[in-house]
Structure formats: structure tokens, C-alpha cells
């Protein structure tokens, strides 16, 4: 049901997979990005991308063009390309921001990427052949707070951002020099008749009528007609563009969630401070409801209390009982969630990483067999 790997005691800030999932890039909560290669059931460190000065905040690996983009609190982003010798070569991207970059995402066609930052703007970057450099264009208005999360519409033209001013905004990320605005049929563009120029605000949603805290994670659905987001008020929301931007909000009874993704046309997985991925269903009547938790691991029974353990525990923590383990796979908050196999319309596997330094790969098909009331639709 779930494969778990540990990468030491440091938190994993973020992670990204290569195309065939044989390698993973992750940052151990510092300025480095480590690339591990899978060997049977083990991971071997094969590359260290060491170019940033401050903590890496985002990694994304473009599967088809095999390029890695990283961004960090040092206000820089690098695009890494692999040479024939297997080493990665960085190219600096001038983001023109005066605060830390917070998140980065390749567009679906991999010809541009977006970086969110504390400078209250989104940089949309693309490669300019004539000058041989990455150009960044800014989406500024009406953002007045840090961008916490980003996601691309499958049509490569629209971008959704989660913000710390309790709002979710949908922007056009159309770059004139690069592409044709070939998706005027999208319900997001209905009002404007097309995506409009870069930075056109296509939709805006408030996380909650009563405030609602920061938005931590956003996700476009597989067909691009819906977005879901999670906020610091432990809520999950879905906005449906094909139904006139109706927002459905569910206030849950759990700790706040950090990330969310669509795993099927009507299913959402969320994960965060409660250390356990949860499945929610968005049914045809527009109701959002709790389906099940995906982590059914049992608490490990301590195998008796050996004298050795007893004294070790007394020595280290001054108590005999030493059972602080959670009954979930992750032992601390989950901060990252990536698609592992399948597509957003039907994810078969996804991976989570967290503050406990663990990376877990969850198999939806096996989970569905193991969990009674779990339905994927």
C-alpha cells in the first residue's frame, strides 16, 4: 500500500521526480538539492546541486525536457540541464524580485515556468533563444501578499495562485512571443473571450467569509475546469468554473492542510499538519465530503520493555515510558505532495514528503483494495 523511505533526520523541504521515477530530487532543508537514484529498495546519492546560498524552497523536474528548476530564499532560480557526463549545469534566471522565492512550477508544455515569491508577485519565465537567457515577466496586480503555491492549467495558459492575503487568484500566463492563445473555450476565459494578456485576472476567490487564514495549496483538476485549495482554517474548497465559479467549502475537524491535489475527476487528496493523507469526494451535486484516511497503519507495538531500552530511555529522557510515535507513516507534518504515476484525472500513485525526513509513495489501487469505504471515481 505504501512504500516509505527515510532520508535522514532533516526535514524534506520539497521533492520532485524524474520522468521514469528512478530518481528523486529533494532538498534537506538547506541550500542544497540532492538527487538520489533508486537501486532496488535503496536510494543512492548521485548528485548534489549546490548553487543556491539560502534555503531551497521549490524544486520541479520537467519530465520530457529533463530539466530541473529550483528556487530559493536567496531570490534566485536556476534551471539545471544534464550534460552527457550526467552532471547538472545551472543557468541563473533573473527573477527580479526583492524577497524570497517560495514556489516554482513548470508549465505542462515545459516551455515556461512560474515562480511565486514574497515580493508580492509571480514571475513567469521563458527562454529567449536570441539572447540565450531566461526572461521573466511579472504578474503584479492585484497581488499584495506572499504567493504560497501555484498550479498550471493543462492548457499551458492559465495559472492559479494561493496567497497569504486569504485569497486564491486565477491569472492568465499567456506569453505572446511563445504561443498561440488557443483556448478561448475554457470556462475560465468565458468572460474575457480568451486568456487575455499576461497577468489578466480571470477569477478571484476568498478563502473564507470569516477570514480564513493563508491559502497553503492549490490544484487544478485534470480537465482544468475546477480548482481546489486548502487554507489555514483547516478547510478544503473547490471552485467550479464550468458551473459559474461556484465555491464549495468544507470546514474539516482536522489540523490545517498544507497541500492538495486532484486524484480523479471527483476526488481530492489533502495532506498537512495531521500527518496523514485524506481523501475527499466532490460529488455531482456539488457537495464536498470526507471519504476516508489513506493511512491505515497501526501504531507499532513496542515489543516488551527490555532493561536496555528502559535505562536508555531513563538516561535520555528521564522517563521509562517513551512512546511518542504517531500511528501514521509520517511522524510529522506533510509539506509536499507529488504525482507519482497516472495523471491528475486518474492518479494511481502519489508521493508525500514531510518534516520527519520521510518520503512515502502511496498506491491508490492497493489502498482501494485495503480500505473498505474508499471509492475512487
Amino acid at each position: 500500500m505504501v512504500e516509505r523511505f527515510s532520508f535522514g533526520v532533516n526535514p524534506i523541504t520539497c521533492h520532485a521526480w524524474n520522468k521514469d521515477r528512478s530518481q528523486v530530487a529533494l532538498s534537506p532543508n538547506n541550500h542544497e538539492v540532492h538527487i538520489y537514484k533508486r537501486e532496488a529498495n535503496d536510494w543512492r546519492l548521485i548528485n548534489v546541486l549546490n548553487q543556491h546560498d539560502l534555503r531551497v524552497t521549490g524544486i520541479d523536474w520537467a519530465p520530457n525536457t529533463n530539466r530541473i528548476v529550483t528556487c530559493a530564499a536567496d531570490r534566485n532560480a536556476y534551471v539545471w540541464t544534464q550534460g552527457s557526463d550526467g552532471n547538472w549545469k545551472p543557468t541563473l534566471v533573473l527573477l527580479r524580485i526583492n524577497r524570497a522565492a517560495t514556489c516554482v512550477k513548470w508549465s505542462p508544455f515545459e516551455n515556461k515556468f512560474a515562480v511565486g515569491s514574497g515580493a508580492r508577485l509571480i514571475s513567469v519565465c521563458y527562454f529567449e533563444k536570441e539572447n540565450d537567457w531566461w526572461v521573466s515577466k511579472h504578474i503584479k496586480k492585484p497581488i499584495r501578499s506572499t504567493v504560497t503555491s501555484l498550479d498550471w492549467h493543462p492548457n499551458n495558459l492559465i495559472l492559479v495562485a494561493g496567497l497569504t492575503d486569504f485569497k486564491v487568484r486565477v491569472f492568465s500566463a499567456y506569453i505572446k512571443l511563445l504561443e498561440e492563445p488557443n483556448d478561448s473555450g475554457s470556462p475560465w476565459c468565458k468572460k474575457a473571450g480568451g486568456p487575455g494578456s499576461l497577468g489578466t485576472l480571470l477569477a478571484e476567490f476568498t478563502n473564507s467569509q470569516s477570514g480564513g487564514g493563508w491559502v497553503h495549496g492549490v490544484s487544478f483538476s485534470g480537465d482544468g475546469n475546477r480548482i481546489c485549495w486548502v487554507g489555514h482554517d483547516s478547510s478544503i474548497s473547490v471552485a467550479d468554473a464550468s458551473r459559474g465559479m461556484v465555491v464549495t467549502k468544507l470546514r474539516t475537524e482536522f489540523l490545517p492542510f498544507n497541500t492538495c491535489t486532484w486524484v480523479g475527476p471527483n476526488s481530492i487528496v489533502v495532506a498537512g499538519h495531521n500527518c496523514c493523507p485524506l481523501l475527499y469526494t466532490f460529488d455531482s451535486s456539488g457537495q464536498l465530503s470526507y471519504s476516508c484516511k489513506l493511512d491505515n497503519s497501526q501504531k507499532k507495538e513496542a515489543g516488551g520493555l527490555s532493561a536496555m531500552r528502559k535505562f536508555q530511555s531513563l538516561d535520555r529522557q528521564a522517563r521509562i515510558e517513551n512512546d511518542t510515535a504517531l500511528e501514521t507513516v509520517h511522524q510529522n507534518a506533510i509539506t509536499g505532495l507529488c504525482l507519482y504515476s497516472g495523471s491528475k484525472g486518474a492518479i494511481t500513485k502519489f508521493s508525500t514528503s514531510g518534516i520527519d525526513g520521510q518520503l512515502a509513495v502511496w498506491d491508490m489501487n492497493l489502498l482501494e483494495k485495503g480500505i473498505q469505504n474508499m471509492r475512487l471515481n
Partner: protein, 152 residues
């Protein structure tokens, strides 16, 4: 780490003060809930008729959370406390289960505000309310007390 880690004075420097177009909380507030708050005479008459649960629903549904007027908020808070303390311990469970989830969140906000300004014997009674509200709304309900900018 540098030796100065204990000093947190740098956090007080407002690095954003020279930005134009700063984020302001005030333009957040289109007033959602009625700004006047619950009607005191209506609630009192409900209490006198013994319809305590209806009284509770009335105060919570009309809670002026979005109001900017501290006087209105204080009045509503005092009235809510009156209702909460009026309802007997044995009725608390029934009362909480009669509320929908949004009202439980509002109730939780008033419970925590009640803890801030205790009166004689109020905290013990509020703990009872808290236990029941927690069992319905879960930890998410407490998170929303902390997160929501529209407070009790």
C-alpha cells in the same frame, strides 16, 4: 548560528513600510453578518420561556463577527455568555448537537473569548461547553478560532 540569536529586535523592523500599495486589512471587510448583533429582548424572552437552545441558536446566528464596532461585539459577547452560563451542564450536550457545524465554530470563538475574561465560576462551565464543542467540531474548530480574522 551567530551569537545574537536571542535578540529578536530585528523582527520589529517593518521592512514593508516604504512599499507603496501595502496590504491593508480594512478593505477586506464587506460586512457579512448583521452589524447590530443579536436582539437582547428576543433572546431574554426565549430564555424566560425555557427555549434555551433556540436562544443559543439566535445569539450564534446573529453574532456580529464582522463588525468593527467593539461596543456591538462586547454586547453580543455578554449576551452569549449569559446564554451559555444559563444553560445547565446536563443540557450542554443536547444544545451542541442541535447546532450545525458553522454555528459550532462560532460557539468555539465565544468559548475562547469567555476564557479570556472569566467571571465567577464561568471557566468551569465553559470547559464543559468546550469539551462538547470539541467532540463535534474537532481540532479544526479550535484552529479556526485562531485563524479567522473575524473574531468573537
Amino acid at each position: 548560528m551567530s551569537i545574537n540569536t536571542s535578540s529578536s529586535a530585528f523582527r520589529k523592523i517593518d521592512v514593508d513600510q516604504y512599499n507603496e500599495d501595502n496590504f491593508g486589512d480594512e478593505d477586506q471587510g464587506e460586512l457579512q453578518s448583521p452589524p447590530v448583533g443579536p436582539d437582547e429582548s428576543e433572546v431574554t424572552s426565549l430564555l424566560n420561556q425555557g427555549k434555551t437552545i433556540d436562544a443559543l441558536k439566535t445569539v450564534l446566528r446573529n453574532a456580529p463577527l464582522a463588525s468593527k464596532n467593539p461596543q456591538v461585539k462586547d454586547n453580543a459577547f455578554n449576551l452569549t455568555m449569559k446564554v451559555l452560563l444559563y444553560i445547565k451542564g446536563s443540557q450542554v450536550e443536547e444544545a451542541v448537537s442541535a447546532l450545525d457545524r458553522d454555528l459550532v465554530d462560532v460557539l468555539m470563538k465565544y468559548i475562547y473569548r469567555g476564557f479570556e475574561t472569566p467571571s465567577e465560576g464561568s471557566s468551569g462551565h465553559l470547559l464543559l461547553w468546550h469539551e462538547r464543542a470539541y467532540s463535534v467540531g474537532g481540532i479544526g474548530s479550535i484552529v479556526r478560532v485562531l485563524t479567522d480574522s473575524k473574531k468573537a
